[in-house]
Amino acid sequence: MEALKLIVPGSYYDNQIYANRLYLWNLDDSITTVDWNGLLESITIPEHLKFALRCAFLESNILYNKKLQAVFQDREVVKLLKKKFQELAKYSIDISQEQLQKFVIRRQDNPFVFPHADSSAYQGNIYVGDESGVKVARCEENEIYPISKNAKRLCDAPALNMAAANQSLALAGGSEGLFVCKLDQEAKQLRDLQPVIKEDCNQARWLFSSLFSSSFFNEGFMADFVSERAESNGRTEDTNKQIKLLKSSEIFKHKIRYGIGKPLFTWGVEDKICTATATSVEVVQYNPEKFEPTERFKTLGLVKHKRFTDAAIIGADSALFGYVIEYDDGLLVINSAPQNGWETNWLEGEPVSWKVFPKSEYYSNQLHVVYDDHLCIHSFNQDYFVNQEQKLVGIKYSEEVPDYKLLAAQASVA
């Protein structure tokens, strides 16, 4: 199924989407905040495609709703929905500069460091980091400034890349390793800063309450937070969380030939750990509820893609809709729905920045790619119809917050 595309004109350095607002980092060290819902509702499309547009760009969670899975047993319903997405894909949704300006809430001075390495939005805060540390500012709906003018320094640990979850911020600190900033209730103040993995780290990602550290200079490491199950007053409880450090080669059970400029990268997000080579992605499923190593790390298989390249892989990430691999000359998206082999989208051209939002309630189907003169928002909608329990490509959608996740969150705040 073809991905949908929405073009926002302008030259940007970075962007975020959070709670119905699109934040655009301009190249003149200012930030523009856009009313995302207003902008989307202003798009002129036929009435019968408005629901598809809403699911694609405003509320991805509608079609992931578990109650709808019964409706999706009806092939005619699925066929109709797919037809609507396919029809919508024929419309090139190019937002004009005039249209964009109508929905600008405010353009303000950038209260963070610029040019930064990474940004993240979590619990009403925006975090921006670089090699000198992380700054945080509130983003409030009813304030004059959409992002508070007073960004506060959260910590001095280097942050080349960040991932927020579990009331914590995981920081990729380059040669200084991977750190976890434990945050207060409002997630705007630091409670504790802990080094978790000492090896070189270029990208930090959460796998439930565990962490994965990706690097160009090592094979990748996982900090597996292992609980011990204990009986207490007739109840089984998870206690004594311990960190077990695992090399990627221990997870994949073979040697990982890493190296800068090599077509290889290893990463992990939620229930999937992946290693990408020039022609394929090898996938291991992580299940923190299992304690037997072969069940905790279950080899799922190899995803062979049609695009062969010996170009260096310089980044990769996972979303519900698939895997995104960044090469020197563009992005490769491997979709979660197989169709005569694995369907891929090649997005030609070096992006300034790109990101997916797998933990977002409303935007988990989107891939945002900033190019020199526009922001391109891709929406992938095939994954609603994929069996989440059996998927090899993309992380599994989970509506419920598992107990171990709540426990981890409570433990990290305590």
Partner: protein, 154 residues
């Protein structure tokens, strides 16, 4: 410290050419430009901006600046990673395009090709990155990749 005699390259500012960054010393990055180009690179960096730094281990303050090797206002490679890095990085010696300069005392400066990909303390700070971006030496794409350690080719 192996070096050639210092030279006053700007009024009251002295520069030392360190030989160990030219003689293939195992753990040292190596210059790929000649000494006069190294001097120009330092002057470019010195006039762009000087950043005070604190060495925690030795408890002293010193100054740092970052330079580029420019040809027709285009950034060009100026050095290579050390032989030590070659061993770590699967027999690859990367080309480097940023130089870092430190002063010892009394405005005596020395420098070498920096590797911010590996060493975060060799990363030019945001203020220097902004100047380079505004002068058009790097695109926004290159700046973003530089700060994320993804830029190792120009």
């Amino acid at each position: 410290m192996s070096s050639v005699p210092q030279k006053e390259v700007l009024p009251g500012v002295f520069y030392i050419w360190k030989l160990d960054h030219r003689d293939n010393t195992y753990e040292k990055s190596q210059w790929a430009i000649d000494t006069s180009e190294e001097e120009s690179c330092f002057i470019e960096g010195y006039t762009t901006g000087i950043i005070p730094k604190y060495n925690k281990n030795r408890d002293f303050l010193y100054n740092t600046c970052w330079g580029l090797h420019l040809e027709n206002k285009q950034v060009e490679y100026l050095g290579k990673t050390s032989r030590e890095m070659e061993k770590i990085e699967s027999n690859t010696r990367r080309d480097l395009f940023i130089a870092i300069f430190n002063d010892n005392t009394n405005q005596e400066w020395h420098g070498y090709p920096s590797d911010p990909c590996i060493k975060p303390y060799e990363m030019p700070p945001a203020s220097i990155r902004t100047i380079w971006f505004n002068k058009g030496y790097f695109t926004s794409l290159q700046i973003k990749k530089l700060v994320q350690r993804k830029l190792w080719k120009l």
